[in-house]
Each structure stands twice: as C-alpha cells, then as structure tokens.
Amino acid sequence: MICDLNVVYPQDDFDVFPGARELNKLKGCLAVLEQLGYTHIALNFEPKWTSGTINKHMPGDIQKVNPINVDKDFPEFKGRLKIYSRITLKIDDPSQCQNITKFQQVFDIVAVEPQTERALQLAITNLEVDIITFNYRERLPCYLKHKTIGAATEKGIHFEIKYSDILESGTHARAQAISNIKQLIRASRSRGLLCTSGITFEERSRARAYCDVSVLLEFMGLDRNRASQAFKDWSLDVLLSGRLRIKSYKQVIAVSGDGGLIDNSLEQNDWSLKRKDAPTNIKIDARGYKKRRLVEKD
C-alpha cells in the first residue's frame, strides 16, 4: 500500500467547478500514478486565499463545501485506486480557525499551511488537523525547531514533503525547496514525515515511482527505511486518523465497513446527490453502512 496524499484538484474556488477536460486530465494523472504502483490517493482541494479572507467565499451549506465527488466523477477507478478527499487551508490568523472543525466532517483529511510562526504554533497546539504543509518554494515562515515539530509528531500531526518541488531544475525555487526540506528533516529527526507528489493535472510527467523518490530523499538525509515509512506507514496513519474522525466517536467505537478502518467505499461520496431526507452532512450518514439481514422464518 503506497500512498500519495496530494494530487491537486483543479479548482480553487468553492463555486467554480472544473470542466470535463480538466477532469479527464486529472484522471490521466491518476492512471499514471496507478501504473507507478500507488494504491491510495488523496485529491487535494486548495481554496484560494488572500490574507484574512477564508470565510468570505465559503458556502453556508455544508454539503456544498466539498466539491470532490468521488462516486460521480471517478467511477472508472472503483476497485483500482482508493481515492480520498483532502483540503489544505492556509492560515495566518487565529481568528479564522473556528471553521476547521466544520471541514473535518466533510473531508477525509484536513491539512493546514501556516503562513506565520504564530499560526504554526496554533496549528500544533490547538487545531485537530492531520497534516501540516509548507510552501517549499519560498522561505519558510520561521525557523523550524525540534521542540515544536516534536510536539506535533507526538500529537499525531504529520509534516508533508512535496517531491515535485525538487524535480524542476535550474531555478532558485528548487534550491530553496531542497534547503527547506533538509531543515524539516533535521528538525523532525526523520520522524512523522510523509512524502507526496503535489502534482497538478497538467504535470503528469512529474510523477515518479516511490523507489526513485526514496533515493532522492536519501540524498537529503532521510534514510531508506524512513523514506519507505513516509510513503507507507505514516501516510496510512494520516488516512486512519482522518477517517476515524468521520467514522468513529473519538476513536473508541467505529462504524465498520468492508475493507478495514480507512475504507470509504460504503459512504455516499456523491455530493451532488439531492435527497429529500438527507441529513446535513452526507459523510456522517450511516445509511450506506446498513446491510441486509437475513430473517429466520419460524
């Protein structure tokens, strides 16, 4: 089970949906990743962000928050890939963070991209998120200390490395990305990291197989075993904690599907579905989990 938890979904606004051409390209992207051996893929929705304005564009109806219709738009990949939805929120101000609990019910994985040191501190201590990511092409918001990163790892928050940033050659951005990733690996002492592609639908040829990337990571100071964990164990941990947030009550009792705890095949992923008696949120609807019971006739 090799995971790639960041394939960018071609949409950055809550209202503007991607066209058929973009979706087809995205599916091509998924097919390439499948051929390279990946099995679990998360589609990443990154809403547009300008300083301090996350709530403005957000629709009030919680059903419209998640634009990714796995059931409706990706029927071809049923049984081939496990597709999850992920949201990446940029935060710089503690006042915006009340909405995050709302997102947790709608997306499988919630990631944040802190823009300031205070936001990073806040994300680690207060927010219940799965992934913390950075924009590696630019300078990091602050110097990463082992104490903060270690606290996050202890809490179960993972840090993301995007390998597509270091494939583009000959630019200053790549040098910056390499130094940032090295800093992250050093500060985290090679623990609690996960490696993702971060490719968009147009950059299919940026996808690489996991064993190639782990050699690259070895050059940056992450040893072979840890690199494999970043793709397998730790990525699955992220998926598990994200899924348990939806499927269970505080990780104590979970609804059990057919394929283990991270399986999302039984629930309604088609958000456009209009049902009269649908509850406010399809993801936490238990109807998909109902199974027919054989009645003994006496």
Binding site: D237, Y249, V252, I253, L261, K291, R292
Partner: protein
C-alpha cells in the same frame, strides 16, 4: 441509559434460575451475582451459611473465573485421554455437552437470552438517528455485557476469529463465552472443519483489550416495518486500545482523539 455493569448479573441469575439442571452450580452462581448486586447488605443477610459469606465480590468472581478456566483445562486433558482410548467415541455424539466430562462447562446457549435482551437494548439506544457521530457516541457509553462480538484484530493470533457473548468487562480484559465448535473455522470451511480440543468444548475466553478490535452488530429496523424496508443491521467496531477504562468509569469519561500510532489498519 447508563446501566451499571451488575445489571447484566440480574438477567444472568434469572436465566440460571429458569434452567433446571446442575443445581450445585446454580447455587454457586446465584450467590455470586447476589453478592455482586448487594455486597453490603449481605453481611447481615440470611445466607450466613453460604460458602461466600463475608467474602468480597471481586475475589469471588475472580475465583469463579479461575475455577472455570481450570475446569476447561482439565476437560481438554480428559478429552485427549478419552480419544486416545477410543478415537471414535465422539462420532456417535451429536453434542459434546452430552458427555459427562463436559457437562460442567459454561454453555453458550444459556447466555443467548442475555444477548437477546442486549440486542433490544442497543436498538432502543440507537433509536432512529442516521448520523454516525450520534450513534457511536451513544454506543461508547453503553453497556457491552450481553453483546455478541467477534474478534477481528488481535496481537494474539489465537484470539482472532473468536466469537462469543460478553459476560464481563474489566479495565484490561473482556471475558466472553464461546460456543462449542464455533468461530472462524465454521465460517470458512465447506466440509467438516477440524477443531482443536479447546474449540470443541467452548466455554470462557479472556481476551485482552490491548491491540484488539471487536466487531458487533446492531439491528436498525424501523419500529413499524413497511413492506419496502428490509430488515438490516449496522456493524460497529470497538477499538480496544481506546477503551481501556472500567465500564463504570466509561459512562462519565471524556474521550479524546490521540495519535493513531498504536491502531493497526
């Protein structure tokens, strides 16, 4: 909603009263459960001549479990001996419980009544809601004694696939009663499966919660069944690592999300 765990004992005691055979064991068990329910009052009670007079509930229960486990162990030995003497002696028997050797072991059938009661209780508890969050939060504070569970994941491979009715839940262990010749083998095998001796006789099993997941079903039929609606159930999974509290404390405990390092997929 919050049943004290000893309430399960009531039903058990009643159940055992109704069963006619094995008077000696009945007496013993009744007194156990009475002591479970009213440990203080018994001091001045009339069963001064009881074997358990003046003893603490906890110890008595422990003793009972220990005795039963020892009995099971001895029965396995006895069965082995018996089969050595006469390898075909089991072929004529329909049920192993007919053997005088195995008659004292706890029977799964005796506990099915508790399971029936628990099923109704769980169904009522869940009610008509469709939200996973509401369901699971209600179930996390409910009583599990009487539930029919299956062990799906465990650190100990012998525990995986055990199915039985919970009769006791402590901080670290869950005690279940398993049927004779049941479990995963009967599910997957088309022809006659081969059971080990301990599987043949059934009885008590103590299962550690750590690293273990239990699966159980709750029926969710509507109250007034219409012709279009199918009778259906939902499966839930108890994650043992996160339930390491006594069932009495569980009612008031505030659970928290933790790092999922210890939960296996």
């Amino acid at each position: 909603m919050v049943l004290q765990s000893t309430d399960g004992g009531f039903t058990k005691a009643e159940l055992l009263k109704s069963s006619s055979s094995r008077k000696r064991r009945k007496k013993k068990k009744e007194s156990i459960f009475r002591s479970l329910i009213r440990p203080v009052e018994q001091k001045s009670g009339n069963n001064r001549h009881s074997k358990f007079y003046g003893k603490r509930t906890k110890n008595t229960f422990k003793q009972f479990i220990k005795q039963n486990l020892k009995l099971q162990k001895d029965t396995v030995k006895g069965l082995k001996k018996l089969l050595k003497k006469d390898p075909k002696c089991l072929d004529k028997l329909k049920d192993l419980a007919e053997l005088p050797l195995c008659s004292k072991i706890l029977k799964f059938e005796d506990f099915q009544e508790i399971n029936r009661l628990w099923n109704n209780y769980a169904k009522e508890l869940i009610g008509t809601t469709d939200s996973i969050t509401v369901m699971t939060s209600k179930l996390s504070t409910c009583e599990f004694i009487g539930a029919f569970v299956e062990v799906t994941h465990s650190g100990c491979i012998n525990n995986i696939g055990q199915k039985g009715i919970i009769i006791w839940e402590s901080q670290h262990n869950i005690i279940i009663v398993v049927p004779r010749a049941g479990g995963w083998r009967s599910d997957i095998s088309v022809t006659n499966p081969k059971y080990s001796y301990s599987e043949l006789i059934g009885g008590l099993r103590i299962i550690n919660k750590e690293g273990t997941r239990f699966k159980f079903r709750v029926n969710v039929d509507s109250e007034s069944p219409t012709s279009t609606e199918e009778p259906c159930y939902i499966e839930f999974e108890i994650i043992g690592d996160r339930l390491m509290v006594r069932s009495i404390d569980r009612a008031n405990k505030k659970f928290k999300n933790h790092a999922v390092r210890d939960i296996e997929l």
